[in-house]
């Protein structure tokens, strides 16, 4: 059994599919547009209006601007706190403000958010107390806010695992007759994990109302997108799950809000999940502990400064007459006050009771934990005596 047919050994068959598939091509309704959706030029000039993505109301954009400014100030403050040793580590999302805030604004307060470690800005933008958000990174506990009350899962570190949780939560909500939408954040790198695949697929099969929002900030720590995928863009993954997808300029706040609003509406209307890829850029190192100069050029970073989402929206809003010097100053003042309050509250050294270690492993501690708790209690008593 050794013969092998010597037939047709030809080069890449890339040309074999007609470039213009019939209108009935099942991929046609699922693939993203070939270029990221953009409604503002990088300098803030509006592009021609388009039918598929009408511009969000101006009040929404103004509120978006406000939150972006406050969010950026929060982010700077968190980085400063890290330098002062107040935080164990901080992953900045500077440069991703349009995504962080756009996602939150596209949702209702009773929708669920599934954030990663990078989404601190989104969470404060959702109204969660920044001290509670930073509890994880300050190191007193793994999650400082009440996820159930805030409809916000704990910031997720094991990459892509939250994609499946979002599918389950969203399905569970609709199963119980609620019209909640779940939005799961995920990074470009994390789309390589199996749990991304399983999550989007579960959501698709169960028609769960989830928006998967990929912030493609071009790096996974040091690894550039080119080592992560050979796909035309990450949004092209949707069709493989039967999930409609879109790509958007992630530094265009107007486009981000328009695209996410549509995606959320799609999910809420019962059409199942939606995948959005935002092309953006991580202006800072991966975290304060990272040294980005090892793997990327200053030039590259500089080029992205010209596409700053905050300045872009400001320019546009000013041109539309929705923002003037006074308003800008007022918002800057709000941001400063926010940062000052955060700074002050983070300067108070938190106290964490070691005995609480035993309280939340199970609903009730097991006999083994009771034994260990008594041992620790005795140790602490002895240490206190020694100190006295």
């Amino acid at each position: 059994m050794t013969t092998t047919p010597q037939a047709v050994r030809r080069a890449s068959p890339r040309t074999r599919r007609p470039a213009t598939p019939a209108a009935t091509d099942p991929a046609a309704g699922l693939l993203p547009q070939t270029e990221p959706v953009r409604l503002l030029d990088p300098d803030g000039t509006p592009l021609p209006a388009r039918d598929d993505y009408p511009e969000p109301p101006i009040e929404a954009l103004r509120e978006m601007y406000r939150r972006m400014v406050v969010g950026r100030r929060f982010d700077t403050q968190a980085t400063a706190l890290t330098k002062q040793g107040r935080l164990a580590v901080y992953p900045s999302s500077r440069g991703q403000e349009a995504c962080q805030v756009g996602a939150v604004l596209a949702l209702r307060d009773d929708d669920w958010v599934f954030p990663t470690y990078r989404e601190s800005m989104a969470l404060v933008s959702r109204g969660i107390d920044p001290v509670e958000v930073l509890t994880l990174l300050r190191g007193d506990w793994h999650c400082g806010y009440d996820p159930a009350a805030r409809r916000t899962a704990p910031q997720c570190t094991p990459l892509a695992t939250q994609c499946v949780h979002a599918a389950g939560l969203a399905y569970g909500e609709s199963y119980q007759g609620r019209d909640t939408v779940a939005l799961a954040f995920i990074g470009d790198g994390a789309t390589s994990e199996g749990d991304f695949h399983e999550g989007v697929n579960f959501a698709a099969v169960f028609k769960a109302p989830v928006v998967y929002f990929v912030q493609n900030n071009k790096y996974a720590i040091s690894v550039p997108l080119s080592r992560q995928t050979a796909a035309p863009s990450l949004a092209y993954k949707g069709v493989g799950y039967g999930v409609p997808s879109e790509q958007v300029d992630g530094n265009d706040p107007v486009a981000v809000l328009a695209v996410l609003t549509r995606a959320v509406a799609h999910a809420r209307a019962g059409h199942g999940p939606y995948l959005v890829e935002a092309h953006t850029y991580r202006m800072e190192p991966h975290t304060n502990a990272d040294d980005a100069t090892r793997y990327r050029d200053a030039d590259e970073v500089e080029a992205w400064r010209d596409r700053d989402p905050v300045a872009r929206l400001e320019t546009y809003l000013r041109a539309r007459g929705a923002l003037d010097d006074a308003a800008v100053a007022e918002i800057a003042g709000q941001a400063e006050a926010y940062a000052a309050d955060l700074r002050e509250r983070m300067n108070a050294q938190p106290t964490v009771d070691p005995m609480s270690l035993f309280d939340h492993v199970y609903a009730e501690p097991t006999p083994q934990l009771v034994e260990q708790r008594e041992q620790v209690r005795a140790e602490l008593a002895a240490a206190a005596e020694g100190d006295a």
Binding site: P154, V164, H165, G168, Y175, H360, V361, P367
Partner: protein
Amino acid sequence: MATMTMAKALNAALADALLEDDRVLVFGEDVGQLGGVFRITDGLQARFGDKRCFDTPLAEAGIVGFAVGLAMSGLRPVVEMQFDAFAYPAFEQIASHVAKLRNRTRGKLSVPMVIRVPYAGGIGGVEHHCDSSEAYYAHTPGLKVVTPATVSDAYSLLREAIDDPDPVVFLEPKKLYFASGEAQLPARTEPFGRAVVRRAGTDATLVAYGPAVPVALEAAEAAREEGWDLEVVDVRTLVPFDDGTIADSVRRTGRCVVISEAQGFAGVGAEIAARVQERCFHALHAPVLRVSGLDIPYPAPMLEHTHLPSVDRILDTVARLQWDDQPDPRWLTQGSAA
């Protein structure tokens, strides 16, 4: 009392849970129309509809992660992993989320769920279908780990697991699925967390769980011929662990053999041996010995009997419990630095 299989008792427990608690959802691979490859979910979809009992895409991390999300929304997922080794793809979801979400959120979020895993061997199954995976879960704080050895316990422990506020890995000994026992449903046996003396005896204590319990009982019967009266304790819940019942028994008998089907190294049997000698040192006439699976990958069907703890291997081990008060020469000569 009626005679029924453990499979039937488990099926009844699921049905009763579905009936009594609207929040319960049963899902996994092939659990719907097929009723599961072991038929543990047989008839549930027909009776409760395909929203309460359903098939999922074939992806175990997906199944467990989906359950996490459902639990967050207030539902009570009961998922089936088709076989022991096929739960491994879900390991990250189990270890990093299921086990930790309550702790992570200081109890604000909890994800009560039951992860049912048909486990262990003795059924002539091919590779990957016979792993004893209990140690991976028992070593992971935040999980409760349960394994029934009787028909009544199967029902009772599964109902308790579903009602439990914490996530439970529920390990079902495959080889006992179709073994029959007497049970009166809805059975309620000793509460969760309690070990049980399955056979009283005076000379030594055999500590066993899950698939090893019937083997231990058989060995205890056979030991009568050798003149030994052995006590057999069924651990039932590996986490939480019932130190009291086991230590009481060993203090009475003065000797102990721990029996588990899994490969021995760093398994639950090691934990039990370590705990017993810590707690019963002065009552012990001999070291706590272990009988376990060999430290090899689970072998092919034709060799599994060599791997598994057998009555003979248990009796050989009991014989080494220094009945004549002489140290075991094995440990005096072996283990010197090579």
